[in-house]
Amino acid sequence: MGGKVTCTLGEVKNRADLIIYWGGNPADCHPLHFSRYTLNAKGKHVPQGRKGRTMVLVDVRETPSVRFSDIFLQVRPGKDFEVVTTLRALLKNRPVDEARVAETGLTLEQLQNLVDRMKNARFGVLFFGMGLTMTRGKHMNSAAVLTLVAELNAFTKFVSMPMRGHGNVTGADVVMRWTTGFPFGVNLSRGYPRFNPGEFSTIDVLVRGDNDAALILGADPGATMPQPAIDHLARIPTIVLDPKLTHTSRLARVHITTATTGISAPGTAYRMDEIPLPLKPILKSPYPTDEEVIRRIYEKVKVKPAWSPAAYAKVPCA
């Protein structure tokens, strides 16, 4: 139960002979992925590139990625969890109900064939996208593929990796982990970090109206979140830091224009496989960096009296 078996993208490039994309459309959404890291890349142990690899695409509809794939498996919407759980049973030669398998839009034969391919791969990789992680079942869909891949390692080398969204979301996740212990959905109101997705994750907090202010950095929830969350952001004092005016800026009380990280501000971005890449600015910006703005806000906040008397009782003044 739990965990993740993964690797950096170079391992995929150098070794993978079976590449599965599940719930994503890399041809459109990650345009360099095929050529740089996976399908078409020539790797140390896959010198023939595309010819040395098999690509399986699993999705609910035909996308432009289909023509890149060797095998396309069209699953009915919302049936991913059923399919992956069936694969886990087939992996162990356990019985499954054929009629209920058929309700997923795929036949038992197709799934058995996929399991055989997975077991016989030399080095398999499963990339999963938001078609899996953001549809019915959500985190359990992710848990399902992560567990399937972990179990496959009893037969062969197999890894998995989420295809993450835009921006430096991986970087935020990495830094949150070393500063708080948790990747996201962290609450610091008691003076120390607590974690409970569903309770403290952004959309849930906003939809319930649990917060009375918001600081938005490197995201545009006004464009992507459900309407009740957006309505709440408009109700409360919302501050946006962004190089450009976003949907969220329009409903915020304050928008602070900042320099674009990577173009006119330095920093580190974490690639989807958590490899840190340096960002080297090539232009100068008239605007301050995100870091500078946060630092200046923090200087002002710091002089205000402590908000939790009990928390401070034990600490003598420095």
Partner: protein, 270 residues
């Protein structure tokens, strides 16, 4: 008995793990008034938000819409806690003993990781009832949770022992990764019993099943009669009359085990 009446609904969540019979039983009136709570990030006192009445006792009554008050009865071991109104998230989490009764509804995580005691919810409940917190291996290990209405996602997730009975229907993933105990539901949406290794899920209606559950015949198990009798005294009726119908038995989840059971009631065609 101590009575706490909520003055008004808090604007942001109020965390109030001090509201437990164990804490208030031995305290003086003024000490109860001064117990700490957290309104968002600010520490405050019980009497900032509640009108406190009565005398120290291990009976505690909370009145008003406490749907934003979290952690009521956390880890309680004894006494009686009655909420006339709604309760927020984590009601009776880590509870070891005593009784909690809510006339209205309760939020997510009620009875999470509890190891004893009884929680009765008059209205609906949220998700993760009696569940394991994220990352924990085991949810509730004993005790009973009774819900008159419906409940949300992942009810009884990783539960190991104890009983959860819900008159209404539950959402997806009831009994997720269940390891033991009994979960009784009026009905369920998808993926009931997903990845369960042991334990019993009883549904009073037919429910959709994962492909990884195998039909193993019909039955009218004896242990269910015992449950039916006991739950009957609490106003929960569980059919177990062989002349009225039978349970369809499914075993699984074959992705991980064949020792979990799902029983779905099917009345005889009349």
């Amino acid at each position: 008995m101590i009575t706490l009446s909520l003055k008004e609904e808090p604007p942001v969540p109020l965390e109030a793990e001090a509201l437990s019979p164990d804490v208030v039983a031995t305290l003086r009136y003024d000490e109860i008034c001064a117990l700490p709570m957290f309104l968002g990030k600010r520490q405050c006192r019980v009497d900032d938000h509640f009108v406190v009445e009565g005398e120290a006792s291990d009976e505690l009554e909370i009145r008003g819409d406490a749907g934003r008050v979290k952690w009521i009865g956390r880890g309680m071991t004894r006494g009686r806690l009655r909420i006339v109104g709604n309760a927020g998230m984590h009601l009776g989490a880590y509870m070891k003993g005593g009784t909690i009764e809510v006339t209205g509804s309760a939020g997510d995580w009620a009875g999470a990781e509890m190891s004893g005691g009884l929680i009765r919810i008059g209205g609906n409940a949220g998700g993760q009832i009696g569940a394991a917190y994220r990352g924990s291996r085991t949810g509730m290990t004993d005790g009973t949770i009774l819900i008159e209405g419906s409940a949300g996602l992942e009810v009884g997730m990783r539960m190991k022992r104890g009983t959860i009975a819900i008159k209404g229907s539950v959402k997806d993933f009831a009994g997720l990764e269940m390891k033991g105990g009994t979960l009784i539901v009026g009905g369920a949406e998808l993926r009931t019993g997903a990845w369960m290794t042991r334990g019993t899920i009883v549904s009073l209606t037919r429910i959709p099943l994962l492909p990884t559950f195998a039909y193993s015949g019909t039955c009218n198990p004896t242990f269910l009669r015992l449950y039916a009798r006991q739950l009957g005294t609490c106003g929960f009726s569980v059919p177990c009359d062989a002349s009225a119908g039978a349970y369809l038995l499914y075993t699984g989840d074959t992705a991980v085990s064949d020792k979990g059971e799902i029983l779905a009631w099917q009345p005889h065609a009349s």
